[in-house]
Symmetry: C2
Subunit: 316 residues, 2 copies
């Protein structure tokens, strides 16, 4: 199935950002909002965000070209006509999701993919009883998706594998980075990972170990420079000449100490080491790690120069 027209329900920060993702990928976008004020401001909001992100357009495209693919609707049914991919981006309330997915069920054909941008609710919580349930899937981004590519894809047990595959490929085609959440859990993984870090930041703050400004600097003048290019696991892979297996066999106890302190069993286990060994050695062989270290270091230096160039808008 080729997706050529998308429909979006809800034109807030996330809905309008998805409109940009789809329209700059060459797709037609029909965007519905029941709120007249939101509709009235929408094209100006999108136009501004497009102007500010034109560096991410396809070669030769202008804001006007992209904007011309977007149509605003005050009527859901009209917005859905001909849509191959529908993205629900309304308020984060379970009852509201139930209501609008029942509408989708009534108003869309059997080939239309029905995605939700929810950050909280697995599909099973609101679409289990609908005839369209095999076409329903979570497509939850980092905010905003037109700037941050990573996007969680989480199917319900009843979602059709074809819908999952088509959604995954569609996100890739749109320049996003889909990641597969394999089980339906509330709040998925992305926000859970962020919360784990932020909770620890709060704990250090509340214990008066360090000031808020200094906590932020540990990320923005430290790990953030590395994580801009490398996930933490592949980062660990560069910390020993024998790669992640060697590192974790020697120093995994440091993570286990932290896990135990948090009340968890050991997290670094023979099984998790095997998984990470498979992952990293598929990515890059051991004898090329030195090359990757140089690439990382050059990337960090380039980022530092970029940061110097960008300066700051803070007063202090």
């Amino acid at each position: 199935m080729t997706i050529s027209k998308t429909a979006i329900a809800g034109s807030g920060i996330i809905g309008s950002s998805w409109a940009i993702v789809y329209a700059r990928s060459g797709l037609d976008v029909a965007i519905y909002d029941r709120n007249p004020d939101n509709r009235a401001s929408l094209m100006a909001r999108i136009g501004k965000a497009l102007d500010e992100s034109s560096a991410l357009f396809a070669p030769g495209e202008t804001t006007a070209d992209v904007l011309a693919r977007i149509v605003v609707h005050d009527n859901l049914e009209a917005a859905l006509v001909g849509a191959d991919f529908v993205h629900e981006c309304i308020e984060e309330k379970l009852e509201s999701k139930k209501t609008i997915f029942a509408e989708f069920d009534r108003l869309t054909g059997p080939e239309t993919i029905l995605a939700t941008t929810t950050s909280s609710f697995p599909v099973s919580q609101f679409a289990s009883d609908l005839g369209c349930r095999d076409r329903c899937i979570v497509v939850h981004p980092a905010t905003p998706p037109h700037l941050l590519p990573v996007t969680e894809i989480c199917a319900a047990p009843f979602t059709s594998p074809g819908v999952f595959d088509a959604t995954f490929r569609f996100m890739e085609r749109c320049g996003q980075t889909p990641v597969h959440i394999k089980k339906e859990i509330p709040s998925f993984v992305l926000n859970r990972m962020q919360a784990a870090l932020v909770v620890e930041m709060f704990r250090c703050l509340n214990e008066d170990l360090i000031s808020p400004a200094d906590i932020d600097k540990i990320i923005s003048q430290g790990f953030g420079l590395r994580w801009a290019f490398l996930g933490p696991f592949e980062g660990v892979d560069l910390n020993a000449t024998g790669g992640i297996r060697q590192y974790l066999e020697n120093f995994g106890f440091l993570f286990n100490n932290m896990a135990n302190e948090l009340g968890f069993a050991d997290v670094v286990t023979p099984h998790s080491i095997d998984l990470l060994e498979d992952y990293t050695r598929t990515k890059i062989p051991l004898d090329s790690l030195g090359e990757k270290v140089s690439w990382r270091d050059q990337s960090i230096i380039a980022l530092r120069l970029l940061k110097d160039e960008r300066g700051t808008v803070d007063r202090a």
Copy 2:
């Protein structure tokens, strides 16, 4: 006190990186290592790292200029002669720290600052009984310090305030970003924050929620793009027009849910909100948040273009 000569004990990854930080800042560096192989390879290792990081040199400087400030010693006493700032970078064993700080005590004058790059041991664990104890202080970086600026500074209760202040200013002068760890705790804050995130990554992996590759992408194609420029707290400040106070009053429960799930009390409290409000509103007034959002977004776009340019050395 003006620091013009530094001495470093231990020429491993961290010791040689600190030598780069100091030498490229115009300081003389005497570096001691008891291991002949380490000494034999040292200047070549530093020369390579200098060539690769020459973009961070002061204007007009060359690798040869910087290298000319570094002298390798096979004798600790000779290395310490005339040093204003000594940085211990030897193996991470408590007994070894005790031994070498006793040597520092014997061999240095009353004005010399004695820093340790330890990632584990507060000064009180190994220097309490020494006459030099008021000059001892932890100066622990992200790895490697010549690329990642953030550096933890942790004084013992008996460290002189003058030594703390001089060390803090010295790090700033060297282009590092010092952060103040206010209490002596094992492993300090930087590694604790990293471990909190990595432990959660392992938990998601071990629960088979998501693949290792996809976990890494959540950072490298998601939060990492933001954290390269903004600490998470100042990032949260941009999530509501009323800033971090408004955001946390509305959505702080999300972090508290995570904290409770981890077995902690609420972390978002009136007190922590006050601290974060003071921090962020000193940084930037509410009516300039829109400007900062634009700056963040433009920064992320510039980073995405940089990443496209840098490509990857991974095979898969």
